[in-house]
């Protein structure tokens, strides 16, 4: 499989790898990524340990009407949580339909 396979066609979020660091949102030149997260305390720490929090991703959306498929978000993500996908992005019949929500709601 060549390294160009699937590139610049569609972007997928690998949700378990995302830490809500906001780097992709900030680096995007067209401001097409929206991210919501909240901090939760980490459970199960040993007795006497300092309280720690971790970020929980609530919402990750890309507005495909703005995205210019530059791939900067994929390159900048420190956790490799974004990747190119081989199929092309689906068309929409309204402008709102082009905003893709990528976080599965909690079951």
């Amino acid at each position: 499989m060549s390294s160009l396979e699937g590139s610049h066609r569609w972007i997928r979020l690998i949700e378990p790898a995302c830490t809500s660091c906001m780097i992709c949102v900030r680096e995007c030149p067209t401001w097409c990524i929206s991210l919501d997260s909240h901090a939760e305390p980490v459970a199960g720490l040993p007795f006497g340990a300092r309280e720690r929090t971790r970020n929980v991703l609530d919402r990750f959306a890309i507005d495909w009407s703005l995205c210019m498929y530059c791939g900067i978000c994929i390159e900048e993500c420190p956790y490799d949580a974004l990747e190119w996908v081989g199929e092309f992005t689906q068309p929409g019949f309204t402008s709102e339909a082009l905003v893709e929500e990528m976080v599965r709601p909690p079951s």
Partner: protein, 184 residues
């Protein structure tokens, strides 16, 4: 690049053409704000019979009164380049055509001058203004300012009691790059 005074501009272009540089390449403008208080009109001509040798002329004009002779009598093709520079930089070409080339007739302003801020992004909520783990932008924190948006201390939503910033400061503050903390 040869620097020419505004009063010698037409004569210098005519002299180059007489010298065999009769292929007009382009005419453009550079806003030197921050370095010098000038708009610099640049013209490039070539001598196609001499291995496409190039000559570049430049003329610095004061930003508040940028006026220079038209050269479209020497090179007819310069007319469109001059119209573009006139509407985007606010340079007056004496004897030149005043019709707009690229901008809408109702458009106001000279958008390529560096102190004219591209305001569209200042009016939009930047999705990157939130911190990691933050669900909404909390009002109290020092915020990040994205690339291309001028520093709020200098343009837009700034403190009116502070002295008016220098146009060079405004131009510098909108220079792109990484997100930066706003000055408070």
């Amino acid at each position: 690049m040869t620097e020419v005074a505004a009063e010698d501009w037409l004569a210098a272009v005519e002299a180059l053409k007489a010298d065999g540089f009769d292929y007009f390449d382009w005419l453009g403008c550079v806003d030197d704000i921050g370095r010098r208080d000038c708009l610099r009109v640049v013209l490039v001509v070539r001598n196609l019979s001499q291995g496409a040798e190039t000559r570049m002329l430049s003329c610095s004009l004061p930003r508040d009164e940028a006026r220079i002779d038209t050269v479209h009598g020497v090179f007819a093709g310069a007319a469109w380049h001059e119209r573009e520079v006139a509407e985007l930089f606010g340079v007056e070409f004496v004897g030149g055509e005043r019709r707009r080339l690229l901008l809408n007739p109702e458009f106001e302003g000279t958008p390529l001058r560096k102190d004219e801020v591209l305001a569209a992004r200042t009016g939009m909520n930047w999705p990157g203004a939130k911190e990691p783990g933050e669900h909404d932008v909390s009002p109290g924190r020092r915020r990040l300012v994205p690339p291309g948006v001028p520093d709020p201390a200098v343009w837009g939503d700034r403190d009116a009691s502070q002295p008016t910033p220098d146009p060079a400061e405004v131009a510098q503050s909108a220079v792109g790059g990484r997100p930066r903390r706003r000055r408070t």
